[in-house]
């Protein structure tokens, strides 16, 4: 009825759009002041006031019933919220805003939070919530489901697990349990635990979403470097390169703009004019995907103007190390002394030379991976290494060679990138480059944030490596700033949730390689990219050679075989092809195209999804399991590195259950229980001990008759070791609080008293102390205590002599172009999909509260002049296409969009587009050889050294639909 009435009104209002209150003056009540006077207050105020006061009272509810929550769907935010409730229902949320200040001279972090967290209460009971287990009853994606019981659903999953695990042809490697971006922290650990217990295949979600800072790993041995955001408040120059913190880091972005009031200069380098650029001192509108080249020009200018810091470079970088000019290989101790028989002990191949100015002789540098001296101190060893020059020497095998410093190599590589030479590619005027260089090199504290956008191009590794090298040349570490990717703190003891003290381990697939293989990426690459594209992006290496190398690498990585056989750790990116897959809050398919989906489903037989809502991925699943979400569970947030707090979720009092949803721990425990029941059936008992390789199962097998006992720590060994019981969200949160050193001495009660969070203690700092009264930035321990970096050279890396790097001319920094098709006549645009203001990846994307603040449907910015030329009207439908496919989207005509670029927020579900196809349709796939390279020094596969999906590296055309 209410809706009826509203519609009637709407009609009326539409017709009378131009009601003009022309008699307004007749009713002007300037003499109304009398009722405002002190003596004669408005007589009827109490009626309205009471209404609103009561209404507020209902939303606030009973203070004692307040819950706490963070909204941590793969968000670094981890903000502390109060969940207000009335009668067992969450009414709304309000930031707790009780964070303590670190230093009275630095703004406190409050209130934190963002638009997405502020509305979660509205999504909690939205009708898209999955409420019951559902079984597919039609074709994939046909929308036909049958409601089933939890008992039946969990048994179905367990039976599939049992079948694949116990089938000698398949085994644990063909089972995949993957946890996506929607579940993190103590909650996400549930699926990691089950995955480890079964030795199943899993992946790093940040790789598949393109958020690996591989260039930083090359430079520092760690991709997660940088600072807590309060550090930026005190910097002199703050640069955001491929980043838009006012959108991607809403809760902490205030430090940047308060820092500007405090005297900082803010520079934003992005193709599009965005929410951060609008407030910067300098915005550099770079052409998309040319960041590596602009960074090379910055290095060029630093070298040309001698703005580098030689003393810093000698001590903290490998720039004085010697390289054999002809082979471009680093000069190793084994080159001069021969390879010792007991290389395992001697590590001659991991010791390197410089030329000591004081003696004029070669000297083995301390602190390298193979060196016995673990400190970077040079003075006490009487070393003053030469940075420049080349010298003839004789090797162990009597060869006469010339050696030169890495610094000389760098100069040679960078020679081609004078700002005048790169202007055409980057669109950046040489004067701007010079100004940028001065702002980077001269001030005391300079922080350069490299955004994930850089990693979404084929050459992203080189972009970030170059930026790291800019910081290395200008002496930036610790309190002097430097590269900021996404700092990560160090935690010990959290293994209590997801690990088994090494007894069981999951098969971790490389994210970007796994997805490339699952989606038949090679076929797409071959169809889409030309020899010319491949050569342009790889300094001349052609398509055929590239594909051969990649195919060999994929073969090496299959089932992690090469790594299993290697004596020196990882040498290839491992992957396992799943047959049965269980995905938890994972948008596996949502960001891909239909071609990927087809390839994916042709290779697997069973796909079950655990989620709180029906994502596009879930829409194609065989089974849906409903997940309890933020205000319904207990949990501790995923520790973030951009601040020092960890959030708590605690359900409101007397919470009315939402359907039959369960939390991650209860679901995984239930599956484990059913698996155990199946394994204990008499007919199954003899195959219930599943053999496995020792590297995944220490005992040599997984005993499925014990799987629930082991999952919940109720097996004899765990009981004896007094491991904490697991299997419910609250137990996991308590276990984490008890066992994680960095959480001490917090308890759930203390977190509640504080306002729903804990503050990490000083041990959380990885390469700097986390002082209670000071912002954090990485690498103080190197700068002040001469601790070595976790790199082959023990220093910031400017040189990688991996054969592939040498082959691509990328053994040290240089410019590299993107791979996207260059065909401006047919495909003139690059489609970029930066981090969204309105979602965290696809989480929150379907919220109507948020969609009403957008265009209702997916929209894409098109430059105003281009739109005029093409007669595309704002709000009209546009077809975006290339040789791979097409999708349709609403045009948003904008002055902030570059003419050669289309800007669209990331994370849209394909089912929100016309024809149910999203931008994944036009995104080509590729793998970058520099990220694929493995088995060199610190470049060994792991959570940091993985690669990215290059979703921006495309070329598209548009037309009116």
């Amino acid at each position: 009825m209410a809706n009826e009435r509203r519609r009637d009104f709407l009609k009326f209002s539409g017709v009378t759009a131009a009601v003009v209150a022309s008699q307004g003056t007749l009713f002007a009540k300037r003499d109304v002041m009398q009722i405002e006077s002190d003596t004669r207050a408005y007589p009827n105020a109490n009626y309205t006031e009471t209404l609103y006061r009561n209404e507020f009272g209902l939303t606030r509810g009973t203070v004692e019933d307040t819950g706490y929550a963070y909204h941590c769907s793969h968000c670094q935010g981890n903000c502390a919220w109060e969940a207000w409730s009335h009668d067992g229902m969450v009414t709304r949320e309000n930031q707790s805003a009780r964070y303590p200040s670190v230093d009275a001279k630095i703004p406190d972090p409050n209130p934190r939070g963002c638009n997405k967290g502020a509305q979660y209460s509205q999504m909690m009971h939205e009708k898209e919530r999955l409420l019951y287990p559902m079984q597919r009853a039609g074709k994939r994606g046909e929308g036909k489901w049958k409601r089933i019981s939890w008992e039946k659903a969990a048994t179905e999953v367990a039976q599939k697990f049992f079948d694949v695990m116990t089938d000698p042809q398949r085994g644990p490697g063909r089972l995949m349990v993957r946890s996506g971006t929607g579940t993190t922290g103590s909650r996400g650990a549930a699926s990691s635990r089950l995955s480890a217990l079964l030795g199943s295949n899993t992946i790093y979600p940040s790789s598949s979403s393109g958020d690996i800072f591989s260039g930083a790993v090359v430079a520092y041995g760690d991709g997660k470097v940088g600072c807590t955001y309060d550090f930026l408040y005190q910097a002199n120059t703050v640069i955001f390169w491929g980043a838009n913190p006012s959108v991607s880091h809403m809760p902490d972005a205030h430090y940047i703009w308060e820092g500007k009031y405090n005297g900082a200069k803010v520079i934003v380098i992005t193709p599009e004019f965005n929410a951060s650029a609008k407030s910067a001192d300098l915005w550099i509108p770079i052409k998309p995907g040319t960041d590596a080249i602009l960074a090379a020009s910055v290095i060029y200018e630093i070298l040309a103007e001698k703005l580098y810091k030689p003393e810093f470079m000698k001590r903290f970088t490998d720039l004085p190390f010697l390289v054999i000019k002809e082979t471009k290989k680093l000069l190793r101790r084994s080159d001069l002394e021969g390879m010792p028989e007991d290389e395992d002990q001697e590590h001659f191949s991991e010791q390197f030379y410089a030329l000591n100015r004081r003696t004029g002789r070669l000297i083995l540098m301390p602190g390298t991976e193979g060196s016995e001296q673990k400190s970077l101190r040079l003075d006490e060893l009487g070393i003053d290494p030469e940075l420049e020059g080349e010298w003839p020497i004789t090797l162990h095998d009597k060869r006469e060679v010339v050696v030169m410093t890495v610094f000389e190599m760098l100069k040679r590589n960078i020679k081609a990138y004078a700002p005048e030479e790169t202007q055409k590619l980057t669109g950046v005027h040489p004067d701007t480059v010079r100004r940028l260089v001065k702002d980077i090199a001269l001030p005391k504290v300079v922080s350069i944030t490299a955004g994930s956008a850089l990693s979404k191009y084929f050459n992203g590794l080189m972009s970030i490596w170059n930026i790291a090298s800019i910081c290395g040349l200008t002496g930036r570490l610790g309190p002097y700033g430097g590269l900021n990717t996404e700092n990560e703190f160090h935690f010990s003891g959290l293994d209590v949730l997801s690990g088994f003290s090494g007894k069981y381990k999951p098969r971790v697939s490389s994210g970007f390689v796994g997805e490339f293989v699952f989606g038949d990426g090679m076929k797409t690459f071959d169809n889409y990219f030309t020899d010319e594209d491949t050569k342009r992006a790889q300094n001349g290496m052609g398509k055929r050679e590239y594909m051969e190398i990649i195919e060999a690498m994929l073969e090496q990585g299959k089932k992690g075989q090469a790594n299993a056989e290697s004596a020196e750790g990882s040498v290839a990116k491992p992957w396992w092809q799943p047959d049965v897959c269980l995905a938890v809050s994972d948008s596996e398919l949502s960001s891909k195209g239909s071609g990927y989906r087809e390839a994916f489903f042709q290779k697997i037989t069973y796909f079950a999804c655990i989620d709180d809502r029906l994502s596009d991925t879930a829409a194609y699943a065989d089974l849906l399991l409903p997940l309890a979400s933020d205000y319904e569970v207990w949990g501790l947030g995923a520790p973030s590195g951009v601040h020092r707090f960890v959030g708590l979720t605690k359900p409101i009092s007397n919470l009315k259950p939402v359907g039959e949803t369960k939390d991650e721990w209860r679901i995984m425990a239930l599956i484990a229980k059913k698996l155990e029941e199946i394994a204990r059936k008499p007919e199954n008992r003899d195959k219930a001990k599943v053999k496995d390789e020792k590297r995944f199962a220490e005992p040599g097998f997984h005993d499925l008759t014990q799987v629930y006992q082991e999952f919940s720590n109720m097996d004899k060994a765990s009981e004896a070791a007094q491991e904490p019981y697991l299997g419910r969200g609250k137990l996991a949160a308590e276990a984490a609080l008890e066992h994680c050193k960095q959480y001490q001495p917090w308890t759930i009660e203390k977190m509640e008293q504080a306002g729903g969070f804990l503050q990490l203690n000083e041990t959380a700092g990885k390469s700097s102390p986390l002082y209670a009264g000071r912002p954090y930035n990485t690498f103080e321990n190197m700068l002040y205590k001469s601790e070595r970096f976790e790199t082959l050279s023990g220093r910031q890396t400017f040189y990688v002599d991996h054969d592939l790097y040498i082959k691509l001319g990328a053994q040290t920094n240089r410019g590299m172009e993107r791979i996207g098709l260059r065909d401006p006549r047919h495909y003139p645009f690059v489609l970029v999909t930066p981090y969204a203001r309105w979602s965290v990846h696809s989480d929150y994307k379907t919220s109507k509260t948020l969609l009403r603040l957008q265009r209702a449907v997916p929209s894409m910015q098109i430059n105003k002049l281009i739109a005029e030329k093409m007669k595309i009207e704002d709000g009209s439908r546009v077809r975006v296409f290339n040789a791979l496919g097409e999708f349709f989207v609403m045009a948003k005509v904008s002055s902030s969009c570059p003419p050669d670029t289309l800007v669209m927020e990331e994370g849209w579900e394909p089912y929100m587009f016309w024809y149910n196809r999203g931008p994944g349709e036009v995104i080509p796939s590729s793998l970058n050889l520099l990220e694929m390279a493995d088995g060199w020094g610190h470049l060994r596969f792991g959570p940091l050294w993985d690669g990215n999906r290059y979703v921006y590296d495309n070329a598209v055309a548009i037309e009116k639909a």
Partner: protein, 387 residues
């Protein structure tokens, strides 16, 4: 005049356009009961048509002679935008398959699995981030958050033929008397900011109430307390120690929006001075240039804006040079809790005078806003976070 006046200062240099304020207001007041289409708080990208569409062209306010000017009532569909809904309840049953029925073809079903229930044509943030100017030479935009200005001379009040709009004596909050309002909507035409809305369910007008029930109980307005950018200060104009008073009266860097409408607003803005430099035709930086045209700022914030900008720039420069500037300290706002200077004791007294039941204290963190005439009360400090 009311006895005291609550006011808000919004710093446009710190606004990141995240709309946490809009959403906070929505869940606090306007997600129900016929208010669904209303945004008591909205953030629009300026330049742009804003919300409701082209509100600055819809009249209202007073002319130079103090007479009410003609005004237009915006239409829901075309000017506010209808709050579209989605087929959430049928999403799971939506058939996403296209003609080839495999789910893998280049096209699926034409209709999106999840779609709005009507063709969207306008909404409260329709021109988000679009801006104006030539890319990349001089294009620009900034965010303009807007709530009811709780004017000292409210033209909505003047326009109401029923005398059903009043300004609270104790704090100047402007309210529609929901008992007496008959839904004539002259107030909507009369408000030059178009910040009064017609509630079709109640057939009455409603508007931002400055979260007075929160304020009375010691909690700042939702839009202000929940602002992640820390852009909003709330306090009494007569609280001389307060940031609001100092930014408005002492430094004169916070200015009302469109004061030419003659309503004497009590929401003040620190104008945007933080735009990047422009580029010339050759792509060279034009040093010392400003993207945001001064005449635009003058149109919005009056001639005083030039003085305000000069003060802000000079103080910023001083801070850079010397590390000192009391004005920059104020704008930086070291303690979030200090941005709000509320006064529960004062409201207790008002309630007592009116013979109303006492107003509970919900939060003790934001109570510094005592005027000289309000007796100080004992406020227990919240304990440090013991660890």
């Amino acid at each position: 005049m009311s006895k005291r006046q609550l006011a808000m200062v919004i710093d446009l240099n710190k606004c990141i356009g995240c709309q946490a304020c809009t959403v906070a207001c929505k869940t606090q007041w306007t997600n129900r009961n016929g208010r669904e289409y209303m945004y008591w708080n909205n953030v629009e990208t300026y330049p742009g048509d804003g919300y409701p569409k082209k509100w600055m062209e819809l009249g209202g306010g007073f002319d130079a002679a103090g007479d009410l000017k003609e005004g237009i009532i915006p239409a829901i569909e075309t000017d506010y935008g209808v709050p579209w809904d989605y087929n959430y309840d049928s999403l799971a049953e939506a058939n996403l398959l296209g003609p080839d029925e495999t789910g893998y073809g280049k096209q699926g079903a034409e209709e999106p699995g999840l779609h709005p229930d009507r063709e969207p044509t306008w909404g409260p943030n329709w021109d988000e981030d679009e801006g104006a100017g030539a890319f990349p030479a001089d294009n620009y935009f900034f965010y303009l958050p807007r709530i009811c200005n709780h004017c000292t001379n409210p033209s909505c009040l003047s326009a109401c033929p029923r005398d059903a709009i009043f300004k609270r004596d104790e704090d100047g909050v402007v309210l529609v008397d929901l008992d007496r309002c008959q839904g004539y909507r002259y107030c909507i035409a009369g408000c030059p900011y178009k910040k009064i809305y017609f509630n079709p369910k109640l057939s009455k007008s409603e508007k931002c109430i400055l979260c007075f029930p929160r304020i009375e109980q010691g909690l700042p307005p939702a839009c202000a307390q929940q602002c992640a950018g820390r852009t909003r200060f709330v306090g009494f104009l007569d609280d001389e120690e307060g940031q609001v008073h100092q930014l408005v009266e002492k430094y004169k860097v916070a200015l009302p929006l469109r004061s030419d409408y003659g309503t004497v607003p009590n929401v003040y803005y620190v104008p945007p001075i933080e735009g990047p430099v422009k580029y010339d035709a050759n792509g060279k930086i034009i040093t010392e240039s400003q993207r945001i045209p001064a005449e635009e700022l003058e149109m919005l914030f009056g001639k005083e804006v030039h003085v305000a900008i000069n003060t802000l720039r000079a103080e910023k420069e001083k801070r850079k040079r010397t590390g000192e500037s009391a004005l920059m300290d104020l704008l930086i706002a070291y303690q979030h809790a200090d941005m709000f200077r509320l006064d529960n004791a004062y409201y207790q007294r008002v309630a007592k005078e009116k013979g109303l039941p006492p107003i509970p204290l919900l939060d003790d963190r934001y109570l510094k806003g005592r005027s000289s005439e309000t007796a100080p009360i004992e406020v227990p400090e919240r304990g440090e976070h013991e660890s």
